[in-house]
């Protein structure tokens, strides 16, 4: 008996879409995965990342159209999102897959026979889950699921799920398990077109294609303290604030003081000097800065580039606490700090920098000579929480900044498990110009609006 009709590309895309949940970021490779954004319902809360450089888009023919709140990205930034663990799921169209979940990318051999990995390798290495989306057989009828890959390998043990025009297969330690069959197909029909043996899942069912319309859970918190509710003692917290009041998340600083978490490691450019320099501080007032967390004895260690007052005769709260032995300090050159944050957020473990070679900063660190010049190995930095200050955000978490106040904010944002942004205003998706967005929403977990009239001085 001839098997039933195979699924259309659109139906395969709909079945893939059922694997995606609100709030997830999904990276889509070339080919069939490009159909997925088009089948997602509006306001589904799934963020599509194109490796060509767009976050939050739908396909429009050969080009993409940004959805409201979408962000164009540089290729390096898109790949940094992949490696930095920001991508929940990747969908690729391999030319071949095997029972171990290895795959060859469709661009490698199908067209030219030349090894052209594109971002396929990053798609395979970074995301938490990788789904293969492909036709079950090649044009000549031979299986695309094969015992041995004959095309160059793009990902080893990379795949978790395989969705084809006749079946859904799960990659398990012992091989492939048949989870679902297309309507009208039997397990034996699928096995006959598959180059490796299939285990049949006891709960095997029929493929379905509808996606529940779901509303994306809001990132906006009405109270700063609620946005920090799960920050625990001993956490590592990044907090911006370059020097003065600009770019400093004052509400979140106060909320963290009120929260009371202790033994914190604080990563910041300064450890609180706005109180000393007092640029812009009205007479009789004190600037709110990192010092308030020193005063409340919440900080165990600071990682900073400019930790103390520019003037030895006017020591900051941090310097006094440091002299009393109450806080530790890891001093980092400012550019090294910025790059350690960038690396941490981009999934790069370490890098070599010429900065600090032959100085105290290089002590105990690995060094290496490149082209006759000495470089120091510095490690990427990550944190549990990151508290930053933006100007405006949309509800998807896309952020824009004002003037110089983006300096460390936008570098820190990708480098923490939970990044909370304090903004002047939250707007609907589409109200921020996609071309102007500095921090794409994938990096922002929570948004707090600074109350009107809030004073950064106390």
């Amino acid at each position: 008996m001839p098997p039933a009709q195979r699924l259309s590309d659109d139906q395969i895309a709909r079945r893939v879409a059922r694997e995606l949940s609100p709030g997830q970021v999904v990276a889509l490779g070339f080919g069939l995965p490009g159909l997925v954004p088009g089948v997602l319902p509006e306001r589904t809360g799934v963020f599509c990342l194109s490796e060509s450089g767009a976050l939050g888009y739908v396909n429009a023919g050969q080009t993409v159209k940004l959805r409201p709140g979408g962000t164009p990205l540089g290729l390096a930034e898109a790949v940094a999102m992949l490696r930095g663990g920001r991508v929940d799921c990747a969908v690729v169209q391999p030319a071949q897959v095997n029972a171990a979940g290895d795959f060859s990318h469709w661009t490698t051999a199908a067209t030219t026979g030349v090894f052209a990995p594109g971002a396929g390798l990053d798609l395979a290495a970074g995301p938490k889950r990788v789904i293969a989306m492909l036709r079950h057989t090649a044009e000549d009828g031979s299986p695309n699921i094969v015992p041995e890959l004959t095309f160059p390998v793009d990902g080893i043990n990379a795949l978790h799920l395989i969705i084809t025009d006749i079946a859904v297969l799960s990659v398990i330690p012992r091989g492939l398990e048949l989870m679902e069959v297309a309507p009208g197909w039997r397990a034996d029909d699928v096995s006959a077109l598959t180059g490796v043996p299939l285990r049949r899942n006891p709960d095997m069912g029929e493929m379905t294609f509808d996606m529940e319309p779901s509303r994306f859970p809001s990132k906006v918190f009405s109270e700063a303290r609620d946005a920090l509710h799960d920050l625990s003692d001993g956490a590592t917290v990044m907090i911006d604030g370059f020097a003065g009041p600009g770019g400093m998340p004052h509400c979140l600083l106060v909320a963290l003081r009120d929260h009371g978490a202790r033994d914190l490691t604080m990563i910041s450019n300064t450890a609180g000097i706005a109180r000393i320099t007092n640029f812009g501080t009205p007479p009789g007032k004190l600037a709110i800065d990192h010092s308030i967390l020193i005063d409340s004895k919440q900080i165990k260690k600071a990682i900073a580039s400019y930790p103390v007052s520019p003037s030895a005769s006017r020591p900051s709260a941090f310097e006094l606490a440091y002299r009393r032995g109450e806080v530790e300090l890891e001093l980092v050159p400012q550019g090294t700090l910025a790059e350690r944050l960038r690396a941490g957020g981009a999934g790069v473990a370490a890098f070599y920098t010429p900065t600090g070679a032959g100085t105290l900063i290089a002590q105990g660190k690995e060094t290496r000579v490149f082209n006759g010049k000495e470089y120091v190995l510095e490690k990427g930095l990550r944190a549990d929480f990151c508290l930053i200050r933006g100007h405006k955000a949309d509800t998807m978490g896309n952020v824009i900044y004002k003037g110089t106040s983006r300096n460390f904010n936008s570098v820190m944002a990708p480098a923490a498990r939970v990044t909370v942004v304090e903004v002047d205003e939250v707007v609907e998706p589409g109200m921020l110009d996609s071309e102007q967005i500095v921090t794409p929403g994938v990096y922002i977990s929570r948004i707090v609006v600074r109350p009107p009239g809030f004073s950064p001085y106390e």
Binding site: Q334, T404, N407
Partner: protein, 223 residues
């Protein structure tokens, strides 16, 4: 006694430094005397200032009453908005520095050695210091000009044979401009090129902790 003789003031040092800035060059100014340099850029020449606070092509300090907390220089001082400013984050600001895109940085110093080593981030007595952007600038800028007083508060030389304070960068200083002299750092050592008005080569050498070779063209401080 040499100490009684008048030395040049900070503005004059800054004025002399400004003459070294290349037309069309990208320049980063440190805190202190270096900050003053932007006020003395030669008429008719164009210098683009970079600040690691996250702005390129920045302008002069803001006037009182017109401060914007979101527009600052690396020292946290407020800047005037000027046409052509470009904002960027700190990773990019330092990529510009380490990537060799900054032609000149002007920094203050505690000590400069005969080999052009720079020490400017910590006085050992304090036991803690700020590095800020200094190490990146020392490592990455194409030229490092030090602008400082020739001696410290105890009238001890700040130009020394070997730095005794913690180093910011090795062999990075290209030119030292002080309130007494202009000294070039070369592979052969320090070369005295200019001397402040009223001072002799011998008097400058006496207040310098390293041997100065005297340039064949040594002349009075050029403004």
């Amino acid at each position: 006694m040499a100490e009684q003789k008048a030395r040049l003031d900070r503005d004059v040092i800054a004025m002399r430094v400004a003459k070294e800035l290349p037309d069309g060059g990208y320049v980063n100014l440190g805190i202190g005397i270096p900050t003053l340099v932007s006020g003395f850029v030669t008429e008719g020449s164009m210098v683009f200032f970079h600040s690691e606070s996250g702005v390129l092509n920045c302008g002069p300090l803001a006037e009182e009453g017109h401060e914007d907390i979101d527009l600052i220089n690396a020292g946290g001082q407020f800047l005037q908005p000027v046409p052509g400013m470009a904002f960027f984050n700190s990773a990019e600001g330092f990529a510009m520095i380490r990537g060799g895109h900054v032609d000149v940085t002007v920094l203050g110093a505690h000590q400069v050695s005969a080999k052009g080593d720079l020490a400017n981030w910590m006085l050992p007595d304090r036991g803690v210091g700020n590095i800020g952007g200094a190490m990146d600038l020392a490592a990455g800028a194409k030229a490092v000009i030090v602008a400082m007083e020739h001696t410290d508060r105890e009238n001890q030389p700040k130009i020394v044979q070997e730095c005794t304070y913690p180093i910011t960068g090795h062999g990075c200083v290209t030119l030292v401009i002080t309130d007494l002299a202009v000294i070039r750092c070369t592979a052969q050592g320090l070369v005295l090129e200019e001397v402040a008005p009223g001072w002799t080569v011998a008097e400058v050498q006496a207040l310098t902790g390293a041997k100065l070779a005297v340039s064949a063209q040594v002349k009075e401080y050029q403004l």
